[in-house]
Amino acid sequence: MNINEKVISSIPSKCLGCKQCELICSYLHEKSYSPRLARIKVVHFVDKGLSVPVTCAYCDQPVCEEVCPVGAMTHNPVTGAARVKEELCIGCKECVNACPLGAVDMHPLKGVALRCDLCDGDPACVKYCPVKALKYEPLYIGVKSKRRSRVEAWHLE
C-alpha cells in the first residue's frame, strides 16, 4: 500500500444516523433503496442516539481476498478499488466470516459478496454526507487532524 493512498474514515461524533450514505450507495449500485443493498452500513444504537458508519477498510492484507476459494474477491492493482467478480462467486460466505470488521456482507438478491468499491475513486457516501461525518483522504492527513484536535483539547496556552 502506498502511504499516500486515500481511505474512508468516519467521525462518529458528527454522524447524525440519517442513513443517506447507505441509501445513496444502494441506489447508485442497485437502482433501489435498501440498507441491505448498501456497501456501507450505519451501526446504530438508538437508545444512545449513537451511529457509526462502517465500511471496507481496504486492509493491507485483505483476508476476504485471501480466503476466497474461487478468486472472486479481487482488487484493481492500479487503482486499488475492490471488485467482486460476481460471475465467479459461489456464495460460500467465507469472506463474510473472515472479515474481522463485518464490512463484507452478502447481496440479498444475487447471493454474492457485497464489498465497497470506492465508487471508482469518488465514494458517494462521502460526497453526500450532509455533515461531513465521512472523509476520503490520505490516512496521514486524517491522523494529523486527529492528533491536532486531541492536543487542542488540552487547552495549552
Binding site: 433503496y33 435498501s34 441491505r36 446504530h44 438508538v46 437508545d47 442516539g49 440479498p108
Partner: protein
C-alpha cells in the same frame, strides 16, 4: 406499475388473524399514502358511536409513501384512530426509523382491529407476521421494553414502536414511541394501543424500495436535497435543535409561561438549545431516517442529583410545556421531566399542560396539599412535577384525575378551573401564544384534533427568513402579510399550510422540511410522487389531494356532530391578556375569530353556520360517498 406503496396489513387481535390488502390505484391517487389513506380507512371503518378505548376502534399505522427511499426527511410515520382525548378524528406522527423498516418489510400500513384478551406484541419479519405473548413486557417502560424485545428476537437492529406504562394505564395523552425516543404523542394513540392489549409492533424488513422511474426519482431527490441544504435556517436547526428558536420566540412574546399567564420569560437561556450545548448536556445530534437536517437531540446529565438521566430531546415543545409553563426555569429538572415522559410513554405537551393547570389550581386554592398526598404544587416545584408525572403514568392519587386530560379534570374539579384549562376540543394546546399570532389562532381553532400546530404550521407568518417571506408573497401576493398580528389573509395562509401539511404527512416528509424550512416544495413533492408511483400529477393536483384529505378529516368530525361552535380557542386565550403583551388585539376576541372563520369557510366554500363542506365541494373533490353519507344523516343539504 411497480408495487412500491406497500400493502395494507390488517391484524385482528380478537381472532388472532391477519390478512393483506392491496392499495388500489384510485385510492393512491386520491389519498397519496400515509395519513391520507389512513383517513380514508378510518372513515370507512369507524362509525359514530364508537368508544375510542373499545375494541371497535381501530389503530392505523401509516408509513410515508416515500419512506425507505433517499428522499430527504421522508421517514415519518402517521398513527390514526378515534381519539380518546377528543372523541374526534386524530392523526399523530413520529420520526425515527420504523417507517422505512416497515416499507422494507413490504407494508405501507398496519390496521389493528379488535382487542387481545391478554398482552401481546406484533412481530413483522418481512412476510412473516406473528402475534406474540407480551405478558413479561407488560409493565415495562419504553426503553426497557424496546431492549427486551430486541433481546427476545435476538436482533438489535429491529425497529420497534411501543407503549409505556402510560399507554397501558389508558392515560388519555399516552404516546406511541418509535425507535425509543420518537413520539407519536398527541391525542392519546398510546391509550388506544393499550386498550387493545398491544404492547408493541416490532419490524424487520430486508427488502428494498424502488421508484417506478428510478433515474427521474433520483434526480429529483438530489435536487430536493440540495434545496433543503441551501436553506438559510438549516444550520441553526441542526446546531441548536428545535429549542434553538427559543430566544427569538421569547422575544416575539409568543412563548407561554406559567400556564399562559405570561407570554415570555425573563431569562429564557436555561431552556434554550444553546444552553444544552454550553453546559454539556447535548451529547449528540440525531437525525430521523433519511433526514439531512438532524434537529433531534440526545442529552444526558452526568453529575448532581439527576446524574444518570439520558434521553432523546428535550425539544422546544417539551422545554416550553415542562419548563416555562410549569414555572421551572432550570435546565436539569426539565431534562429529567422529558426523560420520564419519554420512558413512561406520554406526550410532553399534555403532561406539562395538565400539571401547570393543577399548579394554578393549587396557587388559587382550588386544590390543596390534601388532594396531592401532601405535595405543595407551587410554580417551579420540580420535585412535585416529577412525582406527578409518575402518578399520571400509573394513575395514582391526583395523577388519576390529570391522566384524563385537562378538559375532563376541569369538569371534575369545577370552580371555574375551565378558565385556565388551556385546551380546545379536549386537546391541551401546544406552546405558541396565539394572542400574538393570528395565523396560528385560526389554524388552532379549525384543527380537527384540537388546538395545536401539527395540522397547520404557519410559522411563515412571522417572516423571519427570506424563504418564509417569499412563501407569504406566493400565497397572498404581498410580503407585507408576513405580520402575525394581522388577521387579513390568515385564511389563505392557513389553507395553503393545511394542504401542504397533508401532502407532507402522506409522503412521510417532516413538516420542518416543508413548512419551517421550505426546501421540500409542493412542486418537488408532486415530482417525487410521480416518479415514485409512475402516475404523473402536478403541484396543483397534489395540493388538491391535500385539500381532499383535510376535507375528509373535517367531514369525519361533522359526522360525529361537530359544528362551527367547536372551532374555538382555549378560554384563557379568548378572554385574558398577559402583562407582556401590548398594542392592539392582545386577546383573541370572538369577533376577531368569527371574522377569520367566515373568511376561512368562504375560502373553502364550506357552510358558515355548520362549518360543513357543501355538497358541490365534496363532489368536486371526488368525495361522493362522503357527501352521500352526510346527506343521508341530514348533516348536509343535497341540492336537486
Amino acid at each position: 406499475m411497480y408495487n412500491n406503496t406497500g400493502d395494507i396489513l390488517h391484524v385482528d387481535l380478537n381472532k388472532k388473524t391477519w390478512w393483506k390488502e392491496f392499495v388500489k390505484k384510485d385510492d393512491l391517487l386520491l389519498y397519496l399514502g400515509g395519513r391520507g389513506i389512513s383517513a380514508k380507512i378510518l372513515w370507512d371503518l369507524v362509525k359514530p358511536g364508537t368508544d375510542p378505548l373499545g375494541p371497535e376502534n381501530i389503530l392505523i399505522f401509516g408509513a410515508g409513501l416515500l419512506s425507505g427511499s433517499a428522499a430527504p426527511s421522508s421517514g415519518r410515520t402517521t398513527v390514526t384512530c378515534l381519539s380518546p382525548a377528543t372523541g374526534l378524528y386524530m392523526k399523530t406522527s413520529a420520526g425515527g426509523y420504523w417507517g422505512g423498516e416497515l416499507k422494507y418489510a413490504g407494508y405501507g400500513h398496519i390496521v389493528i382491529h379488535g382487542r387481545s384478551d391478554k398482552p401481546v406484541y406484533l412481530w413483522i419479519d418481512d412476510a412473516n407476521v406473528e402475534i406474540r405473548d407480551a405478558s413479561s413486557l407488560w409493565g415495562m417502560d419504553v426503553r426497557t421494553a424496546d431492549a427486551a424485545i430486541k433481546a427476545e428476537l435476538e436482533d438489535d437492529d429491529i425497529q420497534v414502536s411501543v407503549i409505556g406504562q402510560a399507554g397501558e394505564n389508558l392515560v388519555r395523552f399516552a404516546s406511541v414511541m418509535f425507535s425509543v425516543y420518537n413520539a407519536a404523542g398527541r391525542c392519546g394513540a398510546g391509550a388506544v394501543m393499550g386498550s387493545k392489549n398491544l404492547k408493541a409492533i416490532a419490524v424487520r424488513g430486508s427488502g428494498a424500495v424502488t421508484a417506478a422511474k428510478p433515474e427521474r426519482f433520483h434526480e429529483v431527490v438530489m435536487q430536493t436535497r440540495e434545496n433543503l441544504l441551501r436553506e438559510s435556517g438549516i444550520e441553526g436547526l441542526r446546531l441548536y435543535g428545535t429549542a434553538g428558536s427559543l430566544n427569538a420566540v421569547n422575544e416575539l412574546r409568543i412563548f407561554p409561561a406559567y400556564n399562559f399567564q405570561r407570554s415570555c420569560v425573563d431569562d429564557v437561556y436555561p431552556l434554550s438549545g444553546q444552553c444544552l450545548i454550553d453546559e454539556g448536556y447535548l451529547k449528540r445530534r440525531v437525525s430521523c431516517f433519511s433526514c439531512v437536517i438532524g434537529c433531534h437531540r440526545f442529552t444526558t446529565i452526568d453529575r448532581g442529583v439527576y446524574a444518570g438521566t439520558y434521553s432523546g430531546g428535550p425539544e422546544y415543545e417539551s422545554l416550553g410545556a415542562l419548563g416555562a409553563g410549569c414555572g421551572i426555569m432550570e435546565t436539569e429538572p426539565v431534562i429529567k421531566a422529558n426523560e420520564l415522559c419519554n420512558i413512561y410513554g406520554m406526550d410532553t405537551i399534555s403532561a406539562g399542560s395538565v400539571i401547570q393547570w393543577a399548579m394554578e389550581c393549587f396557587e388559587k386554592g382550588v386544590i390543596g396539599p390534601e388532594d396531592l398526598d401532601g405535595e405543595e404544587l407551587h410554580w417551579g416545584n420540580a420535585v412535585a412535577v416529577h412525582k406527578m408525572i409518575k402518578q399520571i403514568a400509573f394513575r395514582e392519587g391526583f395523577g388519576d384525575v390529570l391522566a384524563d386530560g385537562v378538559k375532563r379534570a376541569a369538569e371534575r374539579i369545577g370552580k371555574n378551573s375551565y378558565q385556565w384549562a388551556v385546551e380546545a376540543k379536549g386537546l391541551e394546546q401546544s406552546r405558541v401564544d396565539t394572542r400574538s399570532a393570528k395565523g396560528y389562532a385560526l389554524a388552532f381553532a379549525v384543527n380537527p384534533r384540537g388546538a395545536d400546530h401539527l395540522h397547520t404550521e404557519t410559522f411563515a407568518e412571522f417572516g423571519l427568513s427570506p424563504e418564509s417571506r417569499a412563501l407569504i408573497k406566493k400565497i397572498t401576493g404581498d410580503e407585507k402579510y408576513a405580520s402575525p398580528r394581522l388577521t387579513e389573509k390568515r385564511a389563505e395562509i392557513v389553507r395553503w399550510h393545511e394542504d401542504c401539511f397533508a401532502v407532507t404527512d402522506c409522503l412521510g416528509f417532516c413538516a420542518f422540511s416543508t413548512t419551517a424550512l421550505y426546501g421540500v416544495t409542493p412542486q418537488a413533492m408532486a415530482e417525487l410522487f410521480s416518479a415514485f408511483t409512475g402516475f404523473d400529477i402536478n403541484e396543483a393536483e397534489i395540493m388538491e389531494a391535500g385539500r381532499r384529505i383535510v376535507t375528509m378529516e373535517r367531514c369525519y368530525n361533522v359526522r360525529l356532530g361537530e359544528t362551527r361552535k367547536e372551532d374555538t380557542l382555549p378560554w384563557r386565550l379568548m378572554n385574558e391578556s398577559t402583562p407582556d403583551l401590548s398594542g392592539g388585539n392582545t386577546v383573541n376576541s370572538q369577533e376577531e375569530l368569527d371574522q377569520m372563520l367566515d373568511q376561512y369557510y368562504d375560502l373553502h366554500d364550506w357552510d358558515r353556520a355548520t362549518a360543513c363542506p357543501r355538497w358541490e365541494v365534496l363532489i368536486r373533490l371526488r368525495l361522493r360517498d362522503v357527501a352521500k353519507e352526510l346527506a343521508d344523516l341530514g348533516l348536509l343539504v343535497k341540492p336537486f
